[in-house]
Amino acid sequence: MEQAGRSNQATVDLRPGSGERARGREPGLGALERAQLRKTPGFYRRSWNRFRKNHLALGSLMVIALIGLFVLSAGLISRYVTGFSYSENHLADKLSPTMTNGYVLGSDGNGRDILTRLAYGGRVSLMIAFLSTFATLVLGGGVGLVSGYFGGWVDSLLMRLVDVLLAIPGLALLILITTLYRPGPVGLAFVLAGVSWPGIARIIRGEVLSLRRREYIEAARVVGAPAWRILTRHLLPNIMPLIVIYAAIAIPVLIVDEAALSYLGVGVQVPTPSWGNMLGEATQFLRAYPAKVIIPGAMIYLTSLALYLVGNGIRDAFDPRLGD
């Protein structure tokens, strides 16, 4: 960061082109030089360059890509590899061990193929995690922006709501809502977002509070830019890195939250598979068939670990000061 900042500083100093005139160069060459200098990598490019050097994070990103590929090819796996659909019951073959009767990873308590269900269940789990992360950021970011920018009674009201929500353990609130309302997978994503946004809103608000006193915001206000323009064009791009960092941190947490709810039987409802409810269903056979529990759990863990490491990598790449 420091190094990159310094090189950036140097290019800014060169831009006026006063140096080349002093050295007697042609003005055209100065323009060319300027064009070259304009290629100075931007913030996101420099962050990516830093991220690329983090082998652990890059490796984790590849693991996520593989998991994504596995999940997206669920239809192909069902058709060509296992030959089972995800809801097909074969009660005669129930609880088959791995690699028997054509079940690559065995079958569950209803005689359904575990590998096929892992692929389809992963789709559901990942869809919920990404959708709820997106909704969390929109909600938390929106509230934080509005609250920090407008201040006054809007701010007080929204922040008291944040205080109230943060005072209840998130999981207790989630269990309460999902048990009573029984949402579907998409609804579940929004319930997760509805409980997860306050922490992010508070952080964004703090950042906006410090940004809105900056000169460029004042300048925009002076030339008569309306509030929505200042919010979307001036503030949002500047808090975007913070939002991306929190997105990266939120995804693994939301994966685990969804899995915990589904494990308890109040998240994704069977027959729709999710890694969490596969794990939850399998706990009744824990004593005799621990593998049925270990397999879906391993998928949840692997995904959350890889996403967590990528998140760490993104945080370090965006703001190396935040790392240790």
């Binding site: 205080d163 207790a172 269990i175 309460l176 685990v256 794990l279 004593r287 621990p290 967590y308």
Partner: protein, 322 residues
């Protein structure tokens, strides 16, 4: 300081009011009532349902019932369970010690392991010990609580018994037969405590390590070294004491997560605590019980944050309460 604590306690009241209002709204805005489930029974006549709803007060609009509930709360009455008419406060007081036993023991264990681990890793900065400790911290941190608990059960309860090793009991607080002794209780506590503690250890040891590294680079540490103090003395008396300060806040902030974790752990280990009570009550739509447990969870969270802030002030003389 007493004035500060009193002011903070007073500030909690509007927040708790908000919590109860929100919870009451969430559980009452959904159509249906605790009686709805009974309607599925063919022997249950519609007039019985209507009578029961009137008896429970469910035929009136929910804002009216909320105000009434608040009035009773102000008189120190949490009402009776809609499921079996057991007093809510009494039931909560029955199970609260079990949850506190579980959370406090795992908190203590996590601190006992994380603090020395973090200090030692910082002292051995960039050695194999430091690297493996950091790796272990990351690996533990991303672990879902319920998965860790199930893996521990598989290993220490099921596989150990299979291999003829001394295995640990799973389920409940005591053994059904000849249980209840101290050793038996302690054995039942091991796995739930370990499941909750291991997750915290990862994050906390990494945090203490980075705090220690920061403190070790400061001038007063260099001064302590240059005046010839023993290494041990520099680490423990000078650096560690300063590195601990933010830890107090961190521990206070992670308590809600700990209660949330206890929710799941109690469910896995059939531990008769607040978490199990909450999940049971929500499942039965026992509105009064749910209100009671939520209120208590929120109060515990706020009080633990207050304790963390007060502790910080006591430990750091630079902080003034005013």
């Amino acid at each position: 300081m007493i004035a500060y604590v009193v002011r903070r306690l007073l500030l909690m009241l509007p927040l708790l009011l908000g919590v109860t209002f929100l919870t009451f709204a969430i559980i009452n805005l959904i159509p249906g009532s605790p009686v709805t489930q009974l309607r599925a029974n063919p022997k249950f006549r519609p007039e019985d349902a209507a009578r029961l709803e009137r008896q429970l007060g469910l035929d009136r609009p929910w804002p009216e019932r909320y105000v009434e509930w608040l009035g009773e709360l102000a008189r120190g009455d949490l009402g009776v369970s809609m499921h079996n008419e057991v007093p809510v406060a009494g039931r909560i007081l029955d199970v609260l010690p079990n949850t506190l036993l579980l959370t406090i023991s795992s908190l203590a264990l996590a601190l006992l392991v994380a603090v020395p681990l973090g200090i030692y890793a910082a002292d051995r900065y960039r050695t194999w010990f430091d690297h493996s400790a950091s790796l272990a911290a990351v690996v533990m941190y991303a672990m879902p609580t319920f998965y860790l608990a199930l893996l521990l059960v598989i290993l220490f309860a099921l596989k150990f018994r299979e291999w003829g090793l001394p295995s640990l009991p799973v389920g409940g607080m005591t053994s059904p037969r000849d249980g209840g002794g101290f050793v038996d209780r302690a054995q039942h506590l091991v796995l739930p405590t370990l499941s909750l503690a291991l997750i915290q250890i990862g994050g906390w040891s990494a945090y203490i390590r980075s705090q220690m590294l920061e403190t070790l680079g400061q001038d007063f540490v260099r001064t302590a070294r240059s005046k010839g103090l023993a290494h041990r003395s520099v680490i423990f008396r000078h650096a560690a004491r300063n590195a601990f300060l933010p830890l107090v806040t961190l521990v206070g902030l992670s308590l809600p997560g700990l209660f949330g974790g206890a929710l799941i752990i109690e469910n896995i280990f059939a531990w008769p605590g607040m978490g199990r009570l909450t999940i049971e009550a929500v499942g039965r739509r026992d509105y009064t019980m749910v209100m009671g447990t939520t209120l208590l969870f929120a109060a515990l969270t706020m009080v633990s944050n207050l304790i963390a802030d007060v502790m910080y002030g006591i430990l750091d003389p630079r902080v003034r309460f005013d």
